[in-house]
Amino acid sequence: MIRLEGVTKTFPGMIRPAVDHLDLSVSEGELVTLVGPSGCGKTTTLKMINRIIEPTSGRILIHGEDAMSMQAYQLRRRIGYVIQQIGLFPHRTVAENIATVPELLEWERDRIDVRVTELVDLVGLEQSMLDRYPSELSGGQQQRVGVARALAADPPIMLMDEPFGAVDPIVRGRLQEELLALHRRLGKTIVFVTHDIDEALYLGTKVAILNIGGILEQFDTPAEILSDPASEFVANFLGGERGLKRLALLPVSEVELSEGPVVDIGASAEDAREVMRRHGVDWVGLLDGGRIKGWVYESDLDGRPLEELEAKDFLVSLTPDSSLRQALDAVVTSHARVGVIADEGRYLGMIDLESIAERITE
């Protein structure tokens, strides 16, 4: 989809190149994050793909076509572009901003209107915002408009240059989740630049770690990078808590769940005691027809049928999609040292410290 072959960029007046003989290949539908310290040439690399910056030497192929063989502005109309400062056009309304590339491509009015309406929904904005000017929107809303504008002509490729760098952490988290959802849904090929290794690992299907001077240190899946850093630079750049970072990438569904100490509320107190004894615990989870109802201590068993007992809620409930890092958090904060996994209320099983640790030392 996008191939960089021996791409080098030396800025005028500089001795050392900003990007040095970089080979990088991005397959269709991938979300590749470029990450590294400042001066690593990640933004330069991104901007060479749509020729905002022209490479000094080397080739960039897009769909097998040399990017230099076409008019730069025509190439750019086929590539979505989102930048950190957003760069919305202040003199144009939200609708006009989103319509930018379709207008350049001379789409018919009706088609543009339909597309704009569609995009506003897609990026989670309100239709009532269409007639506002960018200055009337919050930072997060502006960046949503920026994403909508980049997606407008349905380009197969999107380039994003630290798009969430300027919004507050809460909004950033939401925008990141939305980007992942968009990527799953639309299957775009995305190249995403960030200086934040956590963001790179969270978003990327593959992560390219660049060193000063545009040297590619490692290009692999997040899990592979975390478990097997290619160099000391990468290991240092990943920082501490690598184990925890790996856990953040793995879903609960990756580990085998144990059934855990549970009984149906139809069971007798004797059965419940038996389950506790078998698991060596002083509590038992209560199931109501496959749904988890809560839990009780052994000392709560006072002869009443189980269904009349007041069950305590599990504080955290996990789903198969939750990360192992979330599961670990649930385990260490729960009284019972287990995390309860349920899918829309349906009880699936329990996870404990040991099964998490096992997964990570594999």
Binding site: R76, R77, Y81, G87, P90, H91
Partner: protein, 228 residues
Amino acid sequence: MTVVAQERPFFDWSWVVRNVDQIWEQTLEHLSLTGFALGVGLVISILLAVLALTRPRTYEPIASVSGLLYTIPSLAVFALVAPIVGIGTFAEKFVTAEVALVSYTLLILVRNIVTGLRGVPAETKEAAVGMGYTPGQVLRQIEMPLALPVIVAGVRIATVTVVGLVTVTSLLGLGGLGFFILNGLRKSIIFPTEIIVGVLLSVLLAALLDVGLLWLGRRLAPWAKART
């Protein structure tokens, strides 16, 4: 002399009524001389400003020359241009007058256009380029509209300046409201009514054009008001 002065009031309203057609005609001529100078000045200034921005080395000379032109007294400019162009025919007079008028607009207009274009945020331009605008489209569709409020502010100052200067062009034998001022002064007995009409209408014209341009600027850049 005193006798005559007593017979004629300081402001002779009946003169105004008798000459209303001519007043109207000269006002229109004043307007067209002003409009022409501004139109030509704006076109030249835009070209100079774009040149100054695309070739930064040219900015200094452009700024100095237009600044120098601005400092030359208007009478002197007419005196300098007249021998070259001539003031025989109407066309020659017109060209002589406009050369002077246009040269006075350049400093204000070039400076404001350059300031306005420089004020366009870099990220807005980068986004425009990244979306696939050609360089010409970036200038026409992004930079010029965004510079508009600052450009209009310059046009307003230039307009007020030119309206005042056009009164001087009647020295060349052209029309405009200066015609009345000159006429009033040239009479063997100074005739204040004609001078007052010329001066007042000139001031009024400048004020009306200024307000009109202010309004137009807001109409053309509604987004600028939304930004608080």
